[in-house]
Symmetry: C2
Subunit: 348 residues, 2 copies
């Protein structure tokens, strides 16, 4: 890179201002990353990864960062604190790293009740304890009333790569089988319900949880994992599109294999949402050779909440077009594109 | 730590809400850290450090995090982007680490001009290049209009500890000499001028810069550094108080040895600010044995901007009371306490 100024990429002439969709995890987020951040910082393909691997005198580490701006701060099944810990823990796990250390950067709004901060800090403590990760460094900034929104948290994480496998999109092979560890859509709908004050017969709980122990068990069990991705902003459909496009492969999934709770499906229908695009915080896909499927499913059975429902949802086809398609219950296929707008803003 | 809930510490009954001063780097920030974050996360003394050292299979690393909420985004001598890179680079340098990798987490407000983001990203790129650090991972969130303030940036950093010395407050010894690498108060006043639209005959430029090369040169030159601290929020007086209190030592500094630009002094007088409490972004103190002073000053002469004015400003006295005092020009001493309120909010 040279020090001379580079002019703002053409594409941004279309978008003279930041839109909510630039933070939604869909097409505009990707454009911002690939046309602004990645070239400016010389990130290359790594810019689209959950976490990057770095090498320090022979030790391979993973490094990740995420800011959390979820609204409201508390929801069924978690709060911004559990999310901030589990989100970064999961990003490390997705590249095969054992999460070790987290930082916590708080941006607080003047007037925030101290009790609210206290509850969130306690949630972070508990989540860190459950995930086996230490919060070792932090920072606090306060912004004037009306210039923030209660609490924003950034967590960055360091993990030790726990495998010789290179777990990354380019390791995906034709014929790989795609595993998914449970039902989808609960996190997004739990947030939506809390935000809009919706009440249902049964409370829909976020699936927010740490996946590191489960992933470590798969690696210790010798499962040959080619790639993993957690299904956060943009949901299953967007994550699969990211992987298809980075690895330049086609993917086909089976609608009948994808579990969605009845109440989640009902709420999605009422709100006009597609569960395939709704965010999760405890769900991931793993790409493995066919021969590894049984072993993987057997291992995750000992993690009933995090992986109890793990099943095959699809398969990698040819290289070349990076198309994700879904075969419906009656055999008709449709193409799943990346989330194009902002389905649910401030979901994490 | 146990998983059971701990009740909110008594001290917070006094402060039922977050105040701007909780983010000011003074007494309330310290209370928040020592009574809420440190016990919750089991951080101990490390909670008051710029960066923590962590050990990973024999390699000693430093890890730091900081969020930047400076207002306005652009000021004489820098912007939020240069600040976000240099701030975290300096935090790593202060524990004797060579900065290697940064993360960048953006919280953008809906409606932010894309051109503004672009300018900030270019500043980050340049600052990273100058400091020799790579921005390897990032995240972008967008909050609705009126729930943020343009751009907030979190950077977290990883560095490799480049010394066998243990550079930390508890390594400070009685009789140590305190070195300061230049004039103080420019960053805070540059921000204040930009914020209030103040115009002076000469423009006061922030001293924002990366200190890593200078610190690495001191270490490579074999200077026995006991502790370092950069003089950000709360300024020189607060940083010395932090060190005095963590190390349980008394400190005396000489007013005549502390350089303040004439224009900075004049603006401070008009605004009723004490330059000793105004934030800097390229100034630090180093605690060294008397025998190391000449060598240290000779080494930093080759860094004219970052250390050209390095000089002895004081000395460590007895253990025990953690008092910082300053001997004035006419020989009268006064005690410098920690910044107690919020002198200049959102300075970094």
């Amino acid at each position: 890179m040279s020090l001379e100024q580079i002019s703002c990429p053409i594409a941004f002439q279309q978008y003279p201002q930041i839109l909510l969709a630039h933070g939604g995890g869909g097409r505009l987020t990707h454009q911002l990353i690939s046309e602004m951040f990645a070239p400016a910082f010389g990130m290359g393909d790594r810019a689209q990864q959950d976490a990057v691997t770095i090498s320090l005198t022979g030790q391979k580490l993973a490094f990740t960062t995420d800011s959390y701006v979820v609204k409201p701060l508390f929801f069924a099944g978690g709060d911004i604190g559990t999310l901030a810990v589990n989100g970064s823990v999961n990003d490390l796990a997705m590249v095969g790293a054992k999460p070790l250390y987290l930082s916590a950067g708080f941006i607080l709004e003047e007037g925030l009740p101290m009790e609210t901060l206290w509850r969130v800090v306690q949630s972070m403590r508990q989540a860190a304890e459950i995930a086996g990760v230490q919060i070792v460094t932090g920072d606090t900034k306060v912004v004037d009333r009306g210039k923030g929104d209660g609490i924003f948290i950034n967590t960055s994480g360091i993990g030790a790569i726990a495998t010789d496998l290179e777990i990354a999109p380019h390791s995906i092979r034709e014929g790989d089988v795609i595993l998914l560890n449970g039902d989808i859509g609960r996190h997004g709908i739990a947030i939506m319900a809390a935000r809009e004050g919706l009440e249902f017969e049964t409370e829909i709980q976020s699936d927010c949880m740490a996946l590191a122990d489960l992933v470590m068990a798969l690696l210790e069990g010798g499962v040959e994992i080619h790639a993993m991705r957690d299904l956060t902003r943009g949901g299953l459909a967007t994550s699969l599109n990211e992987l298809a496009s980075t690895a330049n492969i086609n993917i086909t999934i089976e609608e009948s294999a994808i579990a969605v709770q009845e109440d989640v499906r009902a709420v999605c229908e009422i709100l006009g949402l597609d569960p395939l695009y709704v965010a999760n915080e405890g769900r991931f896909v793993a790409f493995v050779p066919e021969s590894e499927v049984e072993k993987a499913i057997a291992i995750v059975r000992s993690f009933p909440e995090a992986g109890g429902q793990m099943r095959v949802i699809g398969r990698v086809g040819d290289r070349g077009q990076a198309i994700v398609s879904m075969r419906g219950q009656i055999g008709v296929s449709r193409i799943l594109s990346m989330l194009s707008g902002e389905q649910l803003p401030r979901i994490c």
